[in-house]
């Protein structure tokens, strides 16, 4: 049942900028339009671009924040999330935990 919602009403996850808008909702309690405007401004795009796969695929690759297709050498997982932290100016708990596990500060 989640699939029809994703197809008809969802932002598209890491195909587009769905994960970034979701992070602003959770981290800053932003409603949907405010979260979209914030992310669009940060990425130098329009809110309409955020759910456009053609725009966001290239943007995500340029910013090293993870792409949906298998791209050798592209950051994914925790590496992509650490780049998302910097991009959105947020602390992400999974990244904080990862940093704490390292023997040196990065």
């Amino acid at each position: 049942m989640a699939m029809p919602h994703a197809q008809s009403s969802g932002m598209g996850g890491i195909r587009t900028a769905g994960d970034l808008v979701a992070r602003m909702q959770f981290a800053k309690n932003m409603h949907i339009n405010e979260a979209k405007e914030h992310v669009a401004k940060t990425l130098d795009l329009t809110p309409l671009d955020l759910s456009d796969e053609e725009v966001m695929r290239e943007k995500r690759q340029d910013l090293d924040i993870g792409v949906v297709t298998g791209l050798p050498g592209a950051p994914r997982g925790i590496a992509a999330k650490m780049n998302i932290e910097k991009l959105l100016g947020l602390k992400i708990n999974s990244c904080e935990h990862f940093r704490q596990q390292l023997r040196e500060a990065y």
Partner: protein, 354 residues
């Protein structure tokens, strides 16, 4: 006048004229306004709902730019579990099922879940879940929460240490029933703090309290006390609280949270105390009536949830799964109604997510 193919609340196909659909929309809207004490929809909004219900295509979609964020309940269980209900029973690891949702199914957020989707069941396996969370977090990109229901029914006899209030009330032990319910709520709040803070220490980004208040008002208060403790200990956590029903059942009847009696609360009041407790996200529920049409149900849902969104300081995600939000109550909900319910709730109720 051509007949429009639509459905009843139990999923059965029916044909209706547009006038009948509009009549049902008006009746569903009026029922919501009366039950929850919320404003009516305008004539234009009801016409818009009728237009979406009557669209000829099998599925419908929002206009580009109007998309919303998707959150989830049950996490990867929907792939791996075979329970005759919502799982499809494909035997695969939890990591693979989560990555499928992120990289193939276009989910904006996701959650890790245990097969028994109840908080109490997580306590004995918490070390396992902490390790799983660390592992999943190293490979996923979308916000990844942990999810499990408060499910306070498991704290009552015969499954738990407290007397079952419904049994005690049948024996006219009313005061004792209320005492036992309050003790169970305090136990639940302690367990929430235990599970959530340990998960947080393993890098968990947040927690989804799904199907909250399934055991009524006392469970709602126990969950809110737990959320409050979780927020205090973990200011950075992503906290979602989704409800079990549109109206909080008064098992106790007079229990309060922050000076407010919670029994009988509808979504626009529920969301305020959920935000006060420290949640970031509210899952609003409106129950589907199986003997009424989809048009009646979705109009009723849009009326209640519109006011909830209007009064909310935190993002509201409408619960649009089986038997809620206007979606028919049947084991395989038809995609024509699922997509229409999403579009109507986005365009009429202004929801922040699904």
């Amino acid at each position: 006048m051509p007949e429009i193919l639509t459905r009843m609340g139990d999923g059965r196909r029916v044909s209706m004229a547009r006038e009948q659909i509009l009549e049902d929309i008006q009746a569903g809207m009026a029922d919501a306004a009366d039950a929850a004490g919320v404003p009516s929809l305008s004539e234009d909004e009801m016409e818009k709902i009728a237009d979406i219900v009557s669209e000829k295509g099998k599925n419908v979609a929002v206009e580009p730019g109007e998309e919303v964020i998707l959150t989830n309940d049950g996490g990867q269980i929907k792939i791996t579990m075979d329970n005759g209900g919502s799982g499809v029973g494909i035997d695969m690891g939890r990591l693979e099922a989560i990555l499928l949702h992120e990289r193939a199914f276009a989910h904006d957020t996701f959650e890790l879940a245990w097969t028994d989707y109840s908080l109490k069941a997580i306590k004995p396996i918490i070390a396992n879940e902490m390790q799983a969370m660390e592992y999943m977090n190293s490979l996923t990109i979308v916000p990844l929460l942990y999810g499990a229901m408060p499910n306070m029914g498991l704290y009552y006899a015969p499954d738990g240490p407290y007397g079952n209030p419904t049994d005690l009330m049948r024996e006219f032990k009313i005061d004792f029933a209320m005492e036992q319910a309050e003790a169970a709520a305090n136990h639940l709040a302690r367990d929430i703090k235990y599970v959530t803070t340990l998960l947080d220490s393993a890098g968990c980004e947040g927690y989804n309290f799904d199907t909250t208040a399934s055991a009524g008002d006392v469970e709602f208060v126990g969950t809110l006390m737990g959320v409050e403790a979780y927020r205090k200990a973990c200011p950075h956590a992503y906290i979602a609280v989704g409800m079990a029903a549109e109206n909080v059942l008064g098992i106790h009847g007079s229990i309060e949270y922050n000076g407010k009696i919670v029994a009988g609360m509808f979504p626009h009041d529920q969301v305020k105390i959920v935000a006060e407790a420290g949640a970031n996200n509210f899952g609003a529920v409106v129950n589907t009536n199986t003997s009424k049409s989809f048009a009646w149900n979705v109009a009723r849902s849009a009326t209640m949830i519109k006011e909830c969104v209007k009064q909310s300081e935190i993002p509201v995600h409408a619960d649009l799964g089986m038997g809620v939000g206007g979606v028919p109550m049947c084991e395989v909900p038809p995609t024509d109604c699922v997509t229409r319910a999403g579009k109507i709730l986005i365009e009429i109720a202004n929801i922040d997510g699904i």
